[in-house]
């Protein structure tokens, strides 16, 4: 019952955040760019303009207009892109797989390296390798993602010629998913962008895993596990790691949002045809419906991942104190 109460609260909060985001989206539409100009150009008289405004409902009260915006948005109608002359949501949806591939690629790299390195650094904090990893990770945090991207292009594409320097390469449609995952060329194109994107998040994860695990290793139940005479592998990889995993997954889930922000930078350097690149183009063209659609889609991704992570975390870890529950 407590969980049910918590879940309802959490979902309500998610709705509230989406509501605020939609409000922001709408007020941008309200203030940015004039839909009339896009429709009729400069040659129409002021009286005709007023009439058109009335007919389009642009003179209605704010709330009425917002209501209309919301009703359409809920049905997936976020307006027409001025530039592409297609529904904004459709334009974004077409670019979504490219961004998703980038995120998946980076996530795989992060998991493969951050978990073993973080765990090792926690178990053997004094070894030279741990010190090296920690030193390297602070360098990693200090190098902005666009620099990693630029210099990896410079080194691997321009100087060595091993990798393509931009674009997504060949894609193939499998089960309705137009993806570069299914071709060699697509995968090769994915390598540098994924590494660049991973480079900025990896140090954070190594440090997070290390510090969480080191804290867990100080716990009484770990000392008790040692006192039971268990093999060190079991103490580290079962007793300690299992407890480390939960907070790491929570933070990891939240980081999906941060990763989306970095995709904008990565996509911009590699001219990767994803949502972020599209967004930057839309900004330069003042393509308001597309800007708003991007904000709402990204907002939705944030809210959904955060809510899901919270719900799952609380579900699998009943020892966590539920928010809003008095102890």
């Amino acid at each position: 019952m407590d969980y049910f109460y918590f879940a309802v609260r959490r979902l309500l909060q998610a709705l509230l955040v989406m509501f605020v985001i939609s409000l922001i989206g709408f007020s941008i539409q309200d203030n940015l760019g004039d839909p009339l100009r896009e429709l009729v150009g400069q040659s129409v008289s002021e009286a005709q303009r007023q009439e058109l405004r009335d007919r389009m409902g642009l003179n209605d009260p704010f709330l009425v207009q917002y209501g209309r915006f919301l009703a359409k948005a809920v049905q997936g109608d976020l307006g027409q892109s001025y530039f592409f002359k297609k529904p904004a949501l459709e334009v974004i949806a077409a670019k979504f797989p490219a961004t998703l591939e980038l995120v998946i690629g980076a996530t795989l790299i992060i998991i493969t390296f951050a978990v073993p390195l973080g765990v090792f650094c926690a178990i053997r904090p004094k070894s030279w390798f741990s010190k090296f990893v920690m030193g390297f990770s602070i360098v990693g945090i200090s190098v902005p993602v666009f620099l990693t991207a630029i210099f990896s292009i410079y080194l691997f594409s321009v100087e060595l010629g091993w990798m393509p320097s931009f674009g997504r390469g060949e894609t193939r449609n499998i089960l309705g998913w137009q993806s570069g995952f299914f071709t060699v060329d697509g995968l090769v194109h994915l390598i540098l962008p994924s590494i660049s994107l991973a480079s900025i998040m990896m140090p954070l994860f190594i440090r997070l895993i290390r510090s969480e695990m080191m804290e867990i290793l100080q716990m009484d139940y770990i000392r008790f596990a040692w006192a039971k005479g268990l093999y060190s592998k079991r103490v580290w990889f079962l007793h300690a790691f299992k407890n480390t995993l939960l907070p790491v997954i929570t933070v990891g889930g939240v980081q999906v949002g941060t990763m989306l922000a970095y995709t904008i930078l990565t996509e911009s350097v590699f001219q990767w045809p994803g949502m972020g690149f599209l967004f930057l183009e839309a900004v330069n063209r003042v393509d308001t419906p597309l800007i708003i659609a991007y904000i709402i889609v990204v907002g939705l991704i944030f809210v959904v991942t955060n809510t899901v992570v919270d719900l799952v975390y609380t579900w699998v870890n009943p020892t966590v104190k539920l928010v809003g529950q008095k102890s």
Binding site: Y221, I222, R223, F224, A227, K228, L246, T319
Partner: protein, 330 residues
């Protein structure tokens, strides 16, 4: 020879510029099936002494001197693999707070079975059966079902029973219990203590009981060791020490006990508090709080000595008036 013999144990904590010494030449021993109580206020070093037996002192603490002879082997010289075979097998531990002792994400069953499997060539099914038997032995209702429970589904008292069951799983010859009841409700404390005493007696298990509760010690243990600021200040048979304490500190501890038969009587506190490790006074560490202090007490650290079984580390031990405590209801 005693089963466990600790000789000249010194433990230090290197902290930045300075090194703090937590134990100064601590000696004690434990016979097979014997029950020893270690008492003192918090910070006296009693937990450090107990944890150093299994070399489980928290970092960066380390044993710098002395030996821990168990069945003739010096545990301080064992490598990790040999030490692992002693821990939880020959010598088990029970920790203070059962809320924190069991791993929150593993079932009770997992945490019991793994302990058996770490020390015996045994199938999971057999380990499970033994575990259930032990849970029954510590009187946990519906033991089979409890195997699948997670720690947070159990009450504090039940969890401590589980911890005791785990400690007993491998039929160890010594159990070290670090304040096993302080974190529990008062009503449950006695239950757990009685249970532990019975189990130790029935299985002929030696017990090292660390506590600040003199009443518990006097009921459970045969011998007692009083610690202050990292040193043993008094040692001897429980009955003698309790009824006829020789060290001013032990006297203070006993006088501080509530007097059950005199309602409304004031509690006699020992004035002041235990010095921290970096500010231990010269000479006898207890001198700032002692009612019998004189100039001599500042000069040298008094050695632990005495004619009978009761040893006292106080230069004025012959001058201090003894009191008979039988009227105190202990």
């Amino acid at each position: 020879m005693a089963l466990l013999e600790v000789k000249g144990l010194e433990v230090e904590f290197p902290l930045g510029r300075k090194t703090l010494q937590a134990l100064h030449g601590v000696d004690f021993s434990l016979d097979r099936g014997e029950r020893l109580g270690i008492v003192g206020e918090s910070g006296a070093g009693k937990s450090v002494a107990a944890f150093s037996i299994l070399n489980l002192i928290s970092r960066p603490g380390r044993i710098s001197e002395g030996e821990v002879l168990f069945d003739g082997t010096d545990l301080t010289r064992l490598d990790d693999a040999a030490m692992r075979e002693i821990r939880g097998n020959k010598i088990s531990m029970i920790f203070q707070d059962p809320m924190m002792t069991l791993n929150p994400v593993l079932t009770i069953g997992t945490q019991m079975i793994e302990c058996l499997q770490a020390h015996r060539e045994i199938s999971k099914e057999d380990a499970r059966k033994i575990s259930i038997d032990k849970l029954k032995e510590v009187m946990i209702p519906s033991a089979e079902n409890r195997m699948e429970s997670y720690p947070h589904e159990l009450s504090g008292g039940m969890r401590q029973r589980v911890v005791i069951a785990i400690a007993l799983l491998t039929d160890p010859s010594i159990i070290i219990a670090d304040e096993p009841t302080t974190a529990l409700d008062v009503t449950i404390q006695a239950e757990i203590m009685v249970l532990m005493l019975a189990l130790c007696k029935n299985n002929n298990v030696g017990l090292i009981l660390i506590t600040h509760d003199l009443a518990v010690v006097s009921q459970v243990t045969e011998r007692i060791m009083v610690m202050y600021a990292g040193r043993v200040v008094e040692q001897g048979p429980t009955r003698e020490v309790i009824q006829n304490p020789g060290h001013p500190y032990t006297r203070g501890l006993i006088k501080a006990l509530p007097q059950e038969n005199i309602p409304g009587a004031r509690l006699n506190q020992i004035p002041g508090s235990m010095p921290s490790l970096d500010a231990i006074p010269a000479g006898c560490a207890f001198n700032p709080r002692c009612e019998f202090v004189d100039l001599e007490c500042h000069n040298a650290i008094p050695p632990l000595c005495g004619e009978g079984e009761q040893k006292i580390a106080c230069i004025h031990r012959d001058r201090i008036p003894r009191f008979n405590l039988s009227e105190k209801g202990i």
